[in-house]
């Protein structure tokens, strides 16, 4: 600690250069935070609740429908304890920018299957009583200031009613919360019986199934059994765990992990060069001073430590400021207005960012520090 004033004074030597270096490190870590949050939103939102659930979709594509009659056949497969279906509604509330997912479900099957959604008993009863009723996640309810009893019109680009009208009206009968912060509370669910009766086409067809298995360890075998049950039928299936399903869904965009890793690799490599250059310049400018330090008794290890401490301090200052700024900005919520409901900066990535900032400091400081350590005193003093 007694060397800290010396290290700090050296950072203040060229204020503009230090400020620019700090800013470049800060921007890199803000970018790191946002990419982590996007990766979390696209690939990381798999709840532990989903460990015992399979998603069964049409083998060709998620947008192909499956017969409603599959439910009973799936429930007869050994190891399957329950099955329920969902269908993509693709609705818009007032403006296309107000994106959130809506799906018709069978409440009596859906709620026991998804215990990560917390709904008050009286609100559940109200939903079961109200044919046009819907339940809405807390985030969406707060975003649009919806409350129990509100009637909300949703216009579907896919589904029309028997009278040709694409606008469906639902009554908010419940607002659900998530069991933990990884639970998506932007969605809206309404009753399938109302949807089935009112829609103009595709009667008896549903989007996909969620199947609960008795033993999560048996999930892969049960998925194979389900696919075998519907093999060679007009609507063959593809069964997979919820985690695999979400990952397959995001793979439509690309390999998110590879994309983010590539971008961050390029950014940090650039920062490595920028900061390394700053440190090298700074140390070479001080060759004479390093000679003086050695003359008055600083040994090689102490000189090495001083330079490394300086590069680590600059890297930590920029890194912590960048991570902090990213934390605050990401904490303000999904910047897309609903496309990334699980947009959050994972604490694990925050810790990784902190470690990266230390590693960055060591890597950028090690070569100038070795140069300073190896300087012969007499040679260094001649360069003043």
């Amino acid at each position: 600690m007694k060397f800290l004033p010396v290290i700090w004074s050296n950072l203040k030597r060229k204020k503009l250069r230090t400020t620019l270096t700090l800013l470049s490190i800060l921007v890199a870590f803000v970018l790191f935070g946002f990419l982590s949050a996007i990766k979390q939103a696209l690939a990381g939102g798999i709840s532990l609740e989903g460990a015992n659930r399979l998603v069964v979709r049409h083998k060709v594509s998620i947008i192909q429908l499956l017969p409603e009659s599959y439910k009973a056949r799936m429930e007869r497969i050994p190891g399957v304890s329950a099955a329920t279906h969902l269908t993509w509604f693709g609705g818009i509330y007032q403006d296309p920018k107000n994106f959130f997912a809506q799906m018709p479900v069978v409440p009596e099957e859906f709620l026991p299957m998804h215990q990560e959604f917390l709904l008050k008993p009286e609100e559940k009863q109200a939903w079961l009583r109200t044919r046009t009723g819907c339940i809405v996640g807390r985030k969406t309810a707060e975003k649009f200031h919806w409350k129990i009893g509100d009637k909300v019109p949703i216009q579907s680009a896919i589904w029309a009613q028997t009278d040709g009208n694409h606008t469906w009206e639902f009554e908010v009968t419940g607002i659900f919360d998530g069991k933990d912060k990884n639970t998506d509370t932007t969605q809206m669910f309404f009753r399938y019986d109302y949807f089935e009766e009112a829609r103009i086409g595709a009667k008896g067809q549903v989007g996909w199934y969620i199947v609960r298995v008795a033993d999560p360890a048996q999930a892969p075998q049960i998925a194979k059994a389900i696919d075998a049950e519907f093999a060679n039928s007009p609507a063959e299936t593809k069964a997979e765990t919820e985690g695999a399903f979400v990952q397959a869904f995001t793979r439509q965009i690309g390999d998110i992990a590879l994309i983010t890793a590539s971008i961050m690799g390029a950014v940090f490599f650039t920062i490595l060069l920028v900061t390394g250059n700053t440190m090298s310049q700074s140390v070479r400018e001080r060759t004479g001073e390093i000679g003086v330090l050695k003359a008055i008794g600083f040994n090689q290890g102490q000189v090495l430590g001083l330079i490394l401490a300086e590069s680590c301090l600059i890297s930590l200052l920029g890194g912590v400021a960048g991570l902090g700024l990213a934390w605050v900005m990401i904490g303000r919520g999904d910047p897309t207005g609903g496309m990334l409901p699980l947009f959050a900066f994972p604490v694990r990535d925050l810790a990784i960012g902190f470690i990266i900032s230390i590693v960055l400091g060591v890597v950028t400081g090690v070569f100038p520090a070795i140069y300073a350590m190896r300087l012969r005193v007499a040679d260094a003093l001649r360069r003043i």
Partner: protein, 233 residues
């Protein structure tokens, strides 16, 4: 430091220093012998390139001779590792440079404190030593000033305060007045003389200036790597 041979503090015994420039060998010091008794103020004179600063570097443990031995207080320096030599310098040697060599981003008191950072003194103890050293060179009022706001003479006084703050056995001054006008130079020489006479510091001072060497108790001359008691005509 050992007490053996205590009347001789610096013993340079048959030292040779050879630098290589490509295939060429440059003999800077040749079979040089020099003894400096404790408490002496020695001036080392000679033309440029005669090896004065090289000799000072060898005595201060900043460089190692090609042949021969340097003993300070009876302790031979050649057997010390780089790390132990650095520790030895911190305890026994105070350097005063021609261009002051202060760290520009540190205040006068922080510059003087630098050698004390290598000791186990507490912050309060370090501050006490720094205040005493600055007081000795008459710069107590300028302790918080940065080098750029000090005159050349004041900067050299800070340099001397830094050199004496650890109470070293030996002060090595490399042209301490070489960058100063006559008045400021005289003040620095007064200060060195006082340190020698009143505190018994042994001082070896490299200088070109006969006016400065006149303040020393003895002057030796170095020419083409060899010592003489009289300047070469």
């Amino acid at each position: 430091m050992s007490n053996a041979n205590s009347e001789i503090l610096v013993d340079v015994d048959g030292v040779e220093m050879v630098f290589r420039r490509g295939a060429e060998e440059i003999h800077v010091l040749k079979d040089l012998h020099l003894k400096v008794p404790k408490g002496e103020f020695l001036a080392l004179m000679g033309p440029s390139g005669s090896g004065k600063s090289t000799l000072l570097n060898l005595i201060g443990g900043l460089d190692r001779p090609t042949r021969g031995k340097v003993r300070i207080g009876g302790e031979p320096l050649e057997g010390l590792s780089d790390r132990r030599l650095a520790d030895w310098r911190a305890r026994h040697i105070g350097f005063v440079f021609q261009l002051y060599n202060l760290v520009p981003v540190l205040s006068a008191e922080r510059n003087v404190e630098l050698p004390l950072l290598l000791t186990h003194l507490t912050k309060a103890q370090r501050q006490k030593h720094v205040a005493a050293a600055l007081n000795m060179v008459g710069l107590s009022q300028r302790a918080r000033h940065f080098p750029r706001t000090l005159s050349g003479g004041e900067q050299q006084r800070v340099g001397i305060a830094r050199a004496i703050v650890t109470d070293p056995t030996l002060l090595l001054c490399d042209e301490p007045t070489g960058d100063l006008d006559r008045k400021a130079g005289d003040e620095i020489l007064d200060l060195l003389q006082a340190l020698n006479r009143e505190q018994g510091k042994t001082i070896i001072m490299v200088t070109h200036d006969p006016h400065a060497s006149a303040r020393a108790s003895r002057t030796v001359y170095l020419n083409k790597g060899q010592l003489a008691s009289e300047p070469l005509q």
